[in-house]
């Protein structure tokens, strides 16, 4: 028996009224695989992450996580739309980091990192704090644990957000343009942290990014989205080195031109 894919999108579509954002998406991601999603804005790439995090509903198809449906559940052998309890059980495996950080502004870095472990996982405060301290240390912010988000730079806030997501011990991490809102000189420190957790944790990672250099160096696979479909995908060496599709070539040319 072949191993279950960690994530599987099966013929998933997303529409807003007449606008089709994703059109019959099929995508499998293996355990531990690092996949980058690139493409022009409006190509549906962020929607892929948001659907997997259950921030968006889907119109057609099924999303599977470790062989279990996320958006649906089995009842009498049939798939029916999932209830909240089911969704919460499955999405516990998924963590997400946002473009705009979305830290809780009324909580310190430490409080941000222990909120969910205590209230969702039922961890004791001391245990949650110990775990959060480890993670804040890993992202290089052990000195800043008692700071509020407004006292931190964008790069520091994003690193706290990564620690906060990891504190829930997800199997899958989603990164949604996590460096796009950062000043250029702060991008490196965040990418460095992502690189590190990619090495140290057996995480499946799916990221939407505009950092082509990072996607090339970090990913096992790159998917190029265009108009709600995967236009081309493959190992970064192939996709960046010898793109087969005309759209991919045009996109990469435009992006690399812009520097």
């Amino acid at each position: 028996m072949t191993e279950q894919p960690m994530v599987r999108f099966e013929n998933v579509s997303k529409r807003y009224g007449a606008l089709t954002v994703l059109d019959g998406l099929d995508l499998e991601i293996a355990r531990g695989e690092k996949v980058s999603v690139i493409g022009p804005s409006g190509s549906g790439k962020t929607t892929v992450l948001r659907m997997l995090m259950t921030l968006e509903t889907i119109n057609d198809g099924v999303i599977w996580v470790e062989g279990e449906p996320l958006t649906h559940m089995k009842r009498n052998g049939k798939l029916v739309p999932a209830d909240l309890a089911h969704i919460r059980r499955i999405r516990a495996k998924i963590g997400m980091v946002f473009q705009s950080f979305n830290l809780f502004p009324h909580m310190t870095a430490m409080a941000n990192c222990i909120e969910a472990p205590m209230t969702v996982l039922g961890m004791k405060r001391a245990d949650a704090q110990a775990r959060a301290a480890e993670l804040l240390d890993m992202v290089g912010l052990s000195q800043k644990k008692d700071h509020y988000p407004s006292q931190l730079s964008g790069g520091q806030q994003q690193r706290v957000a990564i620690a906060r997501a990891l504190a829930m011990r997800p199997k899958i991490m989603l990164f949604d343009e996590v460096t796009s809102a950062l000043d250029p000189e702060l991008v490196g420190e965040v990418l460095q942290v992502i690189r590190q957790i990619g090495r140290e944790h057996d995480l499946t990672m799916l990221m939407v990014t505009h950092q082509m250099g990072f996607a090339k160096e970090f990913s096992d696979r790159v998917c190029f989205f265009y108009q709600g479909k995967i236009c081309e995908q493959g190992p970064p060496s192939e996709l960046f080195g010898a793109p087969k599709n005309e759209r991919t070539r045009q996109f990469l040319h435009a992006v690399l031109e812009a520097g």
């Binding site: 921030l55 999405r91 946002f98 809780f104 502004p105 969702v120 509020y148």
Partner: protein, 219 residues
């Protein structure tokens, strides 16, 4: 002489006692209004299908006079088997009336919370209850304290309506003194001054609370 100081001193204890009732009615009424208003605002978001029902209810309460609601609870509820004493009925009416206003204030507070806060809560798999308690409400409340404070003062100034169902609050006490002695100048003036003083004190306290909350949350 229009103003009689001896008479003033004589009625002061009676009015002071009635003032306690007014303040009690205000505080209990406002706690009820603030709590019920919050519940209405939260339920409206957490249980989407209740939205329409709650909107209609809130509109109904806001669009009818408080005095009618007081009479309704005191005189009509007993027909359905719910008999309440005047103070309870009056405070309940005031609490429900202002809950309708407060729920709109809370709603505005919730609307001001950035969508990313809800999304981060989902991504961390927080329950709806935890999301409201720990994430949304602590951020939504400080900016709306002034608006809630205004309703506290407004509610306080409407407690004389309770005299219509003979609750022994300030206005009722003044009216009784007036009808017994045929002197209205002192009792009514004193009641007015008392409301003025209490409203000013409340305004100062609310501003202090506002500053404190801002210091704590907007670091």
């Amino acid at each position: 002489m229009i103003w009689d100081w001896n008479f003033t001193l004589e009625i002061l204890p009676v009015l002071a006692h009635a003032a306690i009732v007014s303040v009690e009615a205000t505080l209990i009424g406002f706690v009820l209004a603030a709590t019920l208003g919050l519940v209405l605002a939260v339920v409206r978001i957490a249980v989407p299908w209740t939205g329409w029902t709650i909107s209609v209810l809130v509109e109904l309460i806001r669009s009818t006079p408080l005095l009618i609601q007081i009479f309704f609870i005191y005189f009509v509820f007993p027909k359905f088997g719910l008999v309440l004493d005047a103070f309870t009925a009056g405070v309940l009416a005031i609490g429900i009336h202002y809950a309708a206003y407060c729920s709109e204030v809370y709603r505005a507070g919730f609307d001001n919370i950035h969508r990313g806060q809800w999304e981060a809560s989902i991504a961390l798999n927080l329950s709806a209850w935890t999301t409201f308690r720990d994430i949304i409400i602590p951020q939504a409340i400080p900016p709306i304290v002034p608006a809630l404070g205004n309703y506290l003062v407004a509610l306080f100034k409407e407690t004389p309506l309770l005299s219509a169902i003979a609750v022994m609050e300030l206005m009722q006490a003044a009216k009784i003194i007036g009808s017994e002695t045929f002197r209205y100048t002192e009792p009514i003036t004193l009641v007015g001054l008392f409301f003025l003083a209490m409203s000013l004190v409340s305004a100062v306290l609310i501003r202090a609370l506002e500053r404190l909350l801002n210091r704590r949350t907007m670091r």
